[in-house]
Symmetry: C2
């Protein structure tokens, strides 16, 4: 996201937009990490704190949208600045939804914490780690204007999908062998699904960075 | 979406944008209806045709985004036209995702069609009908510029959520009583979840119509 304008107030607005986006993404990244930490460590307080922090993400979505609209109305940006604004408008939608998904993970974790542990979690924390890394690296790519880095992040979504399929099958086996596991296993399946969706949203962000840098729409191209 | 411009080419562009959006929404509405029809009637061919039609929705997303970007770049719209464009950019994202969810319903329906029927579907078709109606009425509200109608649609999402909770619990009972139902019941839980998400996306569309008409951001206000 290169900025080179003679009008310094305009420049400040675009810088503010970038900082707001990065701050929102950082918050969402933290929510993903802590939601799964709350699950693994059976930490209700952390789950609740993470749920509460989504309020800030929601407020940031509204703020960033307002900022974009104001810049569009007052500055009538063209070409690359216009792409920055289109990207920002789309990115906040995905980031806000990612916050919701982290909240969903916490809600299921709170339910699971009231039950005895079903199994040791290995693949689920791995999925969360991958999704969280995808968000961070996409945002790094956004700051650096690096389309190749963004595309590398997108490629890693396959790993998340493969882990999801594995977790889903494993939990199905649990349920088929012992009906006493059904409640917990379906909760864990939901959590795995939320993490899989987080990977998809990170992929969307990556595609937006490619669009931003190269002006090329790579969605639905595979 | 009122249009009153002296520049007739600009007017034609905005009319084209509106028609493209309505056509995309109509296609998504049809996909929702037919995905659940494919489930209820155990119709594999219909499920596959619906999956295929998502390609068109994806292409429309890219086309509408391009059109918005072109209008923004060439026309430098202000105030209400700018809101129309912001709304269009956001709407296509939700509509595209809704197409994906209808595809997911079809994928689970294809899996279920290979198994003996588990139960008669009552609540799931009702959920689909509600979600589909929400899309249609939101788009009517969009065309009419009717914020009150949009808000009535938003209120109906509670009904979809209540049905989801009911279906989820019922299927949990099935699994706890008979492990032989686990595979099918988890598929049906997924379908119910997709329909619940479709209701959420329809709610998003409704909030966008309110924003468009009143210039007021009602997200996260409850």
């Amino acid at each position: 996201m290169k900025i080179a304008h003679t009008d310094s107030e305009y420049e400040r607005e675009l810088t503010r937009l970038r900082n707001e986006l990065l701050s929102m993404a950082g918050r969402v990244e933290k929510m993903i990490r802590e939601s799964v930490q709350a699950l693994v460590e059976r930490d209700d307080a952390l789950a609740r704190a993470t749920i509460d922090s989504d309020r800030e993400v929601d407020l940031q979505e509204v703020e960033i949208d307002k900022l974009c609209l104001r810049i569009l109305a007052r500055r009538q940006p063209v070409a690359s600045d216009l792409r920055v604004l289109m990207t920002a408008i789309r990115m906040v939608t995905d980031l806000e939804r990612m916050g919701d998904l982290a909240v969903n993970v916490c809600e299921r974790a709170l339910e699971l914490n009231r039950e005895p542990p079903l199994k040791q979690y290995i693949d689920i924390p791995r999925m969360a780690e991958l999704a969280q890394g995808m968000v961070r690296e996409t945002l790094d790519a956004f700051v650096a204007g690096d389309a190749e880095a963004a595309q590398r992040v997108i490629a890693r979504d396959e790993e998340v999908d493969a882990l999801y399929a594995q977790v889903f099958r494993e939990l199905l086996t649990f349920m088929m062998e012992d009906t006493g596991t059904v409640f917990r296993a379906t909760r864990l399946q939901s959590i795995a699904k939320y993490l899989e969706r987080l990977g998809d949203h990170a992929t969307n962000l990556g595609e937006m960075v490619v669009f931003l840098v190269k002006g090329e729409d790579i969605r639905h191209s595979s």
